[in-house]
């Protein structure tokens, strides 16, 4: 094991850390602001990769795929947060309607296998499906309106399970839309070359990952430290009740942060898709790593997430290279120790 080994492994670790920062920092902010353990965060990462693939297949543009994926998944996160995690007022009506249509769709899927096509052609089929869905959705909707839903805002466990439920739904949806194959996202050829520094080959793409994460991290940090909105976010992280008391619209902040976190995870998915690939199961593979980042860095702390991401990236790379059989153990065991000694993470505030 010469210097080259250490340099290359460290470089790989840092670039992996850059990717983990993208998924972990959002998770950390979401936890800080909303106290929600979001188990569908890995799904955003995976879906980001898939959406980017679709964009690349249709337009051929890798550059375009990044903002489209990030914005699409940010919108998905926004809807999920507004309708299911923090529903208020009219959102509850919409939520019940969405659930009713969802169940009706499932019933339609089940019934459609038995029911013969009554109307001819694709359009006829579509009309038939729509009718069946409507027929089932309306009574379900009114039934749901009569049942008072649980206020899940106050129940940590129910929020967790809700996000798991969505993770399963996303998983199945991804399987239905994009199939079960492994895909790679091809970055433009300009990024596939290598830098040679002191006889060591450094893939340019990994340099790009580090730069991207650093830029995004810096922008976020500036926004958090220097803007009014950032100050409001920090206040919410520290004490949501107090923040509400002094007139900060924590509701809007949680919506914004959730969308931002989802978008950043999706961005990670696009960028990571070039060397991790995009495949079913990627979601639950990335999720625990994102949690490791959050836990080590401290929940709700951006700087902590950066350090946590670096630590996890390096630990993961060196672990796999030095003691492959214990690789994940050496990653999660320190996490346990940190949690046991300082539950708020290394840089989290009480």
């Amino acid at each position: 094991m010469n210097t080259q080994f250490w340099v290359v492994q460290a470089f790989n670790g840092v670039s992996y850390g850059a990717l983990l920062f993208l998924i972990g920092s959002g998770l950390s902010l979401i936890f800080g602001v909303m106290r929600i353990v979001n188990l569908s965060h890995g799904s955003y990462f995976m879906l980001g990769g898939y959406v980017a693939l679709s964009v690349i297949w249709t337009t051929g543009s890798w550059v375009l795929s990044i903002p489209v994926a990030a914005l699409t998944i940010a919108a998905v996160g926004l809807v999920m947060e507004r309708l299911f995690l923090r529903p208020e007022g009219r959102a509850k009506v919409v939520r019940d309607a969405v659930i009713a249509v969802g169940i009706a769709l499932l019933i339609q899927l089940a019934v459609g296998r038995i029911l013969p096509p009554l109307l001819p052609g694709a359009i006829g089929n579509f009309i038939q499906v729509t009718l069946v869905v409507i027929v089932f959705a309306i009574p379900i909707y009114f039934a749901l309106r009569r049942v008072s839903a649980v206020a899940i805002e106050a129940d940590m466990l129910r929020q967790v399970l809700m996000t798991v439920g969505f993770a399963f739904l996303f998983q199945q949806a991804a399987l239905d839309i994009w199939g079960g194959n492994n895909f790679d996202i091809q970055p433009p050829s300009a990024l596939t070359q290598s830098l040679v520094i002191g006889g060591i080959y450094l893939p340019l793409y990994r340099v790009f990952m580090i730069v991207t994460a650093a830029v995004i991290g810096l922008v976020l940090w500036l926004a958090m430290e220097k803007t009014r909105m950032g100050a409001a976010v920090r206040a919410t992280v520290d004490d949501a009740q107090m923040a509400r008391g002094v007139g900060i619209d924590t509701n809007r902040i949680s919506m914004f942060i959730f969308a931002l976190g989802a978008g950043m995870a999706a961005l990670g998915g696009v960028i990571g898709g070039a060397f991790l690939g995009v495949y079913p199961g990627l979601d639950f593979e990335m999720l625990p790593l994102a949690f490791a980042v959050v836990i080590i860095g401290g929940m709700g702390s951006l700087g902590g997430a950066a350090i946590g991401a670096l630590a996890v990236g390096l630990a993961d790379n060196f672990g796999k290279a030095l003691f492959p059989e214990l690789a994940y153990f050496t990653l999660y065991a320190p996490m346990v120790l940190i949690l046991a000694i300082k539950p708020t993470g290394l840089f989290g505030r009480d």
């Binding site: 059989e325 214990l326 999660y332 046991a340």
Partner: protein
């Protein structure tokens, strides 16, 4: 007869019906119910934590998985646990689960709420990491196939129906044991901790120790579940200890109704039924599972076991509303 006696009688009746009806079904049904029962033991062990102590653990699969791996490794390498020594394997699995919980508990019990969730998640991931990467011991991603088949010792457990009866017996025994536990003074203090931890502390209860003991007991039954699971499945993979297994167990408890024990078993039956039946019928069964998650969380505050109570409340409010309406009508 008191209400409690009626409830117990109802549960016993259901169990007897299960034992009579299931063996008449085809082999698919027998195996399905066997799996659900073996996993229900894990779900009930989690209910001790979640429903009776108020600790939401995201790492219950750890004890389950470690015991399952232990069973498979001992059976494959040393042929242990495949004959009469199966009866040693069972307590050994429980002891392993308990010992692991005793270690994990030292780290986890101090934490509360979300932090407890996180630390149990991390602990579960430690076990998963070992299962996934420690190739020489666990077979890595491929897992371990039980080469020796199921134990034979007078009883031929390779017969699915006989094996069903064995798992059923363990399930019933676990249900009874845990029921006695939660009705005991110890169980009552656990409930007290769930409701008002601070008050229990002030009353002089050693809250930490109570939680710790509950954690260990849950680990022991998780271990029992793992031993049975190894023989039910015949193959143990990292899937056994993956995060989603722990989450599934949580869902089962919440779906059936936390703090009812029986609810956990019902939840297990439903989730397994959906998964195994669903996956043979349609490719999109996971939508159903996701929908069950969302619906349970939003509309079943006390789980399925709480539905009669909710209906009663609903009817009471309906009645109140109609009488009010009648009263407001001028005569």
């Amino acid at each position: 007869m008191s209400k409690q006696t009626i409830k117990i009688a109802a549960v016993v009746l259901c169990l007897v019906a299960l034992a009579v009806i299931v063996p008449r079904g085809n082999s698919f049904v027998v195996l399905l119910v066997t799996r659900a029962l073996a996993f229900a033991i894990l779900a009930m062990s989690l209910d001790i934590l979640l429903g009776f102590t108020g600790l939401a653990s995201l790492g219950q699969a750890a004890y389950f998985g470690v015991a399952a791996y232990l069973t498979a490794i001992l059976a494959n390498r040393y042929g242990f646990g495949l004959h009469w020594d199966f009866w040693l394997m069972v307590p050994l699995g429980m002891l392993t689960g308990a010992a692991l919980a005793a270690i994990f508990g030292l780290f986890a019990i101090r934490a509360t709420g979300t932090y407890f969730l996180m630390i149990t998640l991390a602990l579960g991931q430690c076990v998963w990491g070992l299962a996934y990467r420690w190739n020489s011991m666990t077979g890595g991603d491929n897992g371990i196939t039980m080469k020796g088949g199921r134990p034979q010792f007078g009883l031929d457990l390779t017969n699915d129906v006989t094996f069903f009866y064995l798992v059923f017996a363990f399930f019933a025994a676990t249900l009874a044991a845990l029921y006695v536990l939660v009705r005991s003074p110890f169980g009552k203090s656990l409930l007290g901790i769930r409701e008002r931890e601070l008050r229990m502390k002030i009353l002089g209860y050693n809250v930490w120790l109570h939680k710790y003991v509950a954690f260990i007991i849950a680990g022991a039954f998780g271990g029992l579940s793992g031993v049975l699971w190894a023989h039910t499945n015949g193959i143990i993979t990292p899937e056994t200890v993956v995060l989603t297994t722990s989450v599934d167990a949580l869902l089962m408890v919440v779906l059936g109704g936390a703090g009812t024990l029986v609810g956990a078993a019902i939840g297990s039956a439903i989730v397994f039924g959906l998964r195994e039946f669903g996956s043979t019928l349609v490719p999109w069964w996971q939508y159903v599972l996701g929908a069950v998650y969302v619906l349970t969380i939003l509309y079943l505050p006390m789980g399925l076991m709480g539905v009669p109570e909710r209906l009663r409340q609903w009817r009471a409010t309906q009645k109140k509303r109609t009488t009010k309406n009648l009263a407001s009508v001028p005569s």
